[in-house]
């Protein structure tokens, strides 16, 4: 196990905090193996981060996060979807994470847990998956070769990272182009194939991170570019960062615990008036109630997955809280 735990004494914002890095190495994967959630545990805990996974046993398909030590960076296609184009993890490590987006939300959310919950985030390494990289480089039966027929198409593949804190989507975001062909000079076009460090400290305190991918190659059936990227060495500051906390918590209602297996409690200490609703990922309404009447929502009978809890106040303000049922 190579979990790296830093205990650093820093004087930033007059506070001291530890760091935890999710390196994925402690899954002890052999060379060229991967975890895609077929154990039906609903995800992977690593460091102070929970990486959710949804797996369909019947079709052996998944979305969310997988863990991999695959080194095949030459085979294109979806059969090699758990491989990084670098054929190794960041800093030469053997294991890394792979994220695959849902068609519906086009994003995946991971949760900060333990001491990291509600704390700051240092940063992480990202890279292209082999599937997405080779698809953008060479094209496939569905997706286009970036640059298109002429080589001049202003194509891009963009990773956007946002954060939630207390279930509230933050206003800050970090964007990173995994491929960028937008330059007028084609010599400047690039596809990321090296692990690249992203500084996420500007996101401030968070209890979960949302990753979304967007591409210039979009048809009527959605994004053609395979919606995968790889990540490694996510480092959390295991305490709140004072001075950076922002005022995006528009509605002071506490929703906990998240993820949940049973009940999610709603603490409405300021007696806001409005409605609270729970929807599944297809938009189907599962619960609709007056906010003042809601003490908790029972998730015990719901199937595993992501749900969206929405609070709408009478003054017109509203907030969404993604809830993970495990």
């Amino acid at each position: 196990m190579k979990k790296i735990v830093f205990a650093l004494a820093l004087l930033a914002f007059n506070s001291s905090f530890a760091q935890t890095t999710s390196t994925f190495e402690d899954f002890n994967l052999g060379v060229d193996s991967a975890l895609n959630g077929s154990d039906l545990q609903g995800g992977f805990q690593n460091g102070n981060t929970f990486f959710p996974n949804t797996f369909d046993s019947q079709s052996n398909s998944w979305f969310g996060f997988g863990i991999s030590s695959m080194t095949d960076n030459t085979t294109p296609g979806f059969m090699n979807d758990l491989s990084c184009i670098k054929a190794e993890g960041a800093m030469g490590s053997s294991t890394y994470g792979v994220a695959y987006m849902s068609y519906l939300t086009n994003n995946v959310v991971m949760n900060l847990t333990g001491a990291a919950e509600g704390g700051g985030i240092e940063g992480m390494y990202v890279n292209n998956s082999t599937y997405a990289y080779l698809s953008m480089r060479d094209g496939d039966g569905v997706a286009k070769k970036f640059g298109g027929i002429t080589g001049n198409d202003p194509d891009f593949f963009l990773l956007t990272i946002e954060k939630y804190n207390n279930g509230v989507l933050g206003t800050q975001k970090v964007e990173f182009y995994l491929a960028d062909f937008r330059s007028a000079n084609n010599a400047d076009d690039y596809l990321i194939s090296e692990w690249t460090y992203l500084d996420l400290s500007s996101l401030g305190n968070a209890d979960s991170l949302a990753f979304s991918l967007s591409s210039s190659d979009v048809g009527q059936f959605g994004m053609n570019t395979p919606s995968y990227f790889c990540l490694d060495d996510l480092t959390t500051k295991d305490s709140p960062v004072t001075g950076i906390r922002t005022n995006e918590e528009l509605i002071d209602v506490q929703i906990y615990p998240n993820p949940t297996t049973d009940k999610v409690y709603i603490e409405n200490n300021r007696n806001f008036e409005g409605t609270i609703s729970l929807n599944d990922v297809s938009g189907r309404v599962i619960v609709l109630s007056d906010l003042e009447m809601a003490d908790f929502i029972d998730f015990s009978t719901l199937s595993e997955g992501v749900y969206y809890l929405t609070i709408e106040l009478k003054d017109g303000r509203s907030q969404n809280f993604p809830i993970l049922k495990k």
Partner: protein, 595 residues
């Protein structure tokens, strides 16, 4: 003489029939190529010998029924048939009935019905017909037909061999270097053996065996560096039919057994997928004529299907049986048809399918046709059982369609004019679409769409004959508005959007001249702007010419022919990111020996 027929043509619908003489005068390799040029249906072709599917009156490919000698040959897994795999020379007759007729034919006959038939000729003692052609892109086609027998027995052997490299010149875009398409080769060998037995004037028995293997490489798209994918199709179709006919009674009984498999292999992505199915079909049909005016028809059809795929959790089966009752009134000027079909699928009784068709002569030159019918299409086995995404709870697509047509004919001194105009309206609910599943990481089949289709079709035929000079021409125009009546995020659909790959406007024209031994034909096709899955596909037009010289001496006849296709060298697309061939040539010879 043709004796064994498929079921009677529906009253109230337009039907075009191409006989063996017409089919032999064409040099198209496949039924798909033929229909795209000769009719006003839309063939979605991926180019060369790649996949070709059909759309009639804005219906989907799986909503147009394809019948071989009256039995449906669509894949029960996909619901469609690749028309590029049906050699045109395997048909003695091709028919196209435009408009919904689920009552007669059952599932899938929403847009129309295309039939291709083999027929026996009991006058033939011996006939050899050999056709050979070579063309651009290293294409080679060989057809041999051997007929022989007596007035009581006939054997017909049809052999087809086709191959092509399909290395068309790809012209990707202005200022981009042209290149030759790779991984597009096609190889196909097929055989139909038919035996016809006619012991007397009242009975006829026919047996057909159709064996065919094909292998087609799947070329890269215009935005794909290369492809190594290919597909192998293997077809074994057997059928037998018996017909009895006298003045009052007409009985037809058919049985068929089809075994097919399709294997898709892509070495680049290490994918090998094998899909197999077998279908056993039985049909009995009884017509009784009370007198010259009144007749009834009672029919029953049973189809049992087994399908196997690595993407199915088990071998899936489907058992369906249907009963049909029809009444027909026929007078000199009026024809009326009232039909009702009842269908059971895996013991589930479906809603009855009525059909009311009416045809009224007005004077000697005008014929008015009208029909109202209920339509349906069963989900395909992939819709039901594909993993992930198949949905066993799917309901059939269903709705109503109406059709109104007026035909005017005029003949004078060797001239013949025919003008056909028709309008149609169709509403289908429970339209099956694959959309992101609730879990969000795969697509699933759902009855989520409603589609409203309406349009008009107009066709003018003008023929003239004087001595050795024969002139035939036709001009047709189609307007098809086929729109979703719902909005969805994925696939991205706004209410009122035209269906993908369904052109609103389509026109084609054919002119043929024959003077003695020489014949010339010009065909032109125009397709309006079409919405594809990724882009708007610009309108395009294609012109083809065909020149033939025929010769005959005693029992020996033949012709030498040449075709120039896409004579204006249009750089067009039928499916976005898929190249179509520029100007291409075909030279061929046909030899016929009769005794």
């Amino acid at each position: 003489m043709e004796f064994i027929q498929i079921r009677k043509a529906a009253i109230g619908l337009e039907k075009i029939v191409w006989d063996s003489t017409t089919l032999k005068s064409r040099s198209f390799a496949s039924l798909g190529d033929f229909l795209s040029q000769e009719s006003n249906v839309y063939v979605k072709s991926y180019g060369g010998n790649s996949l070709g599917t059909i759309s009639v009156q804005g219906a989907s490919a799986s909503q147009t029924l394809l019948l071989w000698n009256g039995l449906p040959v669509q894949s029960p897994m996909l619901g469609l048939l690749d028309l590029s795999l049906i050699p045109l020379n395997f048909s003695d007759k091709v028919s196209l009935q435009v408009g919904g007729n689920s009552s007669s034919w059952g599932s899938g006959a929403i847009g129309g019905v295309i039939g291709f038939q083999n027929t026996g000729n009991f006058k033939s003692k011996f006939e050899l017909d050999y056709n050979s052609s070579i063309g651009s892109f290293s294409s080679l086609q060989q057809d041999l037909q051997l007929k022989g027998g007596s007035k009581h027995f006939q054997s017909v052997t049809q052999v087809n061999f086709q191959k092509a490299k399909n290395d068309i010149l790809v012209r990707p875009a202005p200022n981009v270097e042209n290149y030759r398409q790779e991984n597009a080769a096609f190889l196909q060998m097929g055989l139909i053996q038919s035996f016809y037995v006619k012991p007397n004037d009242k009975n006829e028995l026919a047996i057909h065996a159709w064996l065919q293997e094909s292998e087609k490489e799947i070329p890269p798209t215009l935005t794909q560096l290369n492809s190594e994918a290919f597909q192998k199709d293997q077809i074994k179709r057997f059928m037998a039919s018996w017909a009895y006919k006298n003045k009052k009674h007409n009985i037809k009984v058919k049985a068929g057994h089809f075994r097919e498999q399709q294997e898709f292999i892509d070495p680049q992505i290490h994918l090998q997928a094998l899909n197999k199915f077998q279908t056993s079909l039985g049909e009995a049909n009884y017509n009784f004529k009370f007198n010259t005016r009144h007749s009834i028809e009672v029919a029953s059809t049973t189809i049992f299907t087994m399908a196997q795929s690595e993407s199915y959790s088990e071998v899936n089966t489907q058992f369906k049986t249907a009963g049909l009752f029809a009444y027909r009134l026929t007078t000199k000027q009026t024809q009326l048809q009232l039909s009702l079909r009842e269908e059971w699928v895996d013991k589930n009784l479906l809603a009855p399918l009525p059909y009311i068709g009416w045809q009224q002569g007005i004077g000697s030159r005008l014929v008015l046709k009208a029909k109202v019918s209920r339509e349906f299409r069963l989900p395909t086995l992939n819709d039901l059982y594909w993993s992930p995404g198949g949905n066993p709870e799917l309901k059939p697509e269903e709705g109503w369609s109406q059709e109104l047509g007026l035909t005017w004919r005029q003949k004078f001194k060797g001239h013949q004019l025919k003008l056909t105009n028709s309008v149609f309206n169709r509403n289908i609910k429970n339209w099956i679409l694959w959309a992101p599943s609730d879990l969000g990481f795969f697509w699933g089949a759902n009855n989520i769409a409603k589609v409203w289709s309406y349009g008009l079709s107009s066709r003018l035929d003008y023929d003239f004959k004087k001595g050795k000079f024969v002139f035939n021409s036709n001009l047709s125009f189609n307007y098809t508005n086929s729109t979703y009546q719902i909005s969805l995020d994925l696939p991205k659909i706004e209410k009122g959007d035209q269906l993908f790959y369904t052109p609103k406007y389509q026109a084609n024209g054919n002119v043929s001249l024959k003077l003695g031994e020489w014949s010339f034909r010009y065909q032109h096709l125009l397709i309006g702007e079409t919405l594809g899955a990724n882009d708007l596909i610009p309108r395009y037009h294609v012109g083809n010419i065909h020149l033939a010289y025929s010769f005959k001496q005693n029992n020996f006849s033949g012709k030498i022919f040449t075709s120039i296709n896409n004579i204006y060298n249009q750089n067009y697309r039928v499916v976005e990111r898929r190249a179509m061939p520029g100007t291409n040539l075909l030279f061929g010879i046909n030899i016929n020996l009769k005794k």
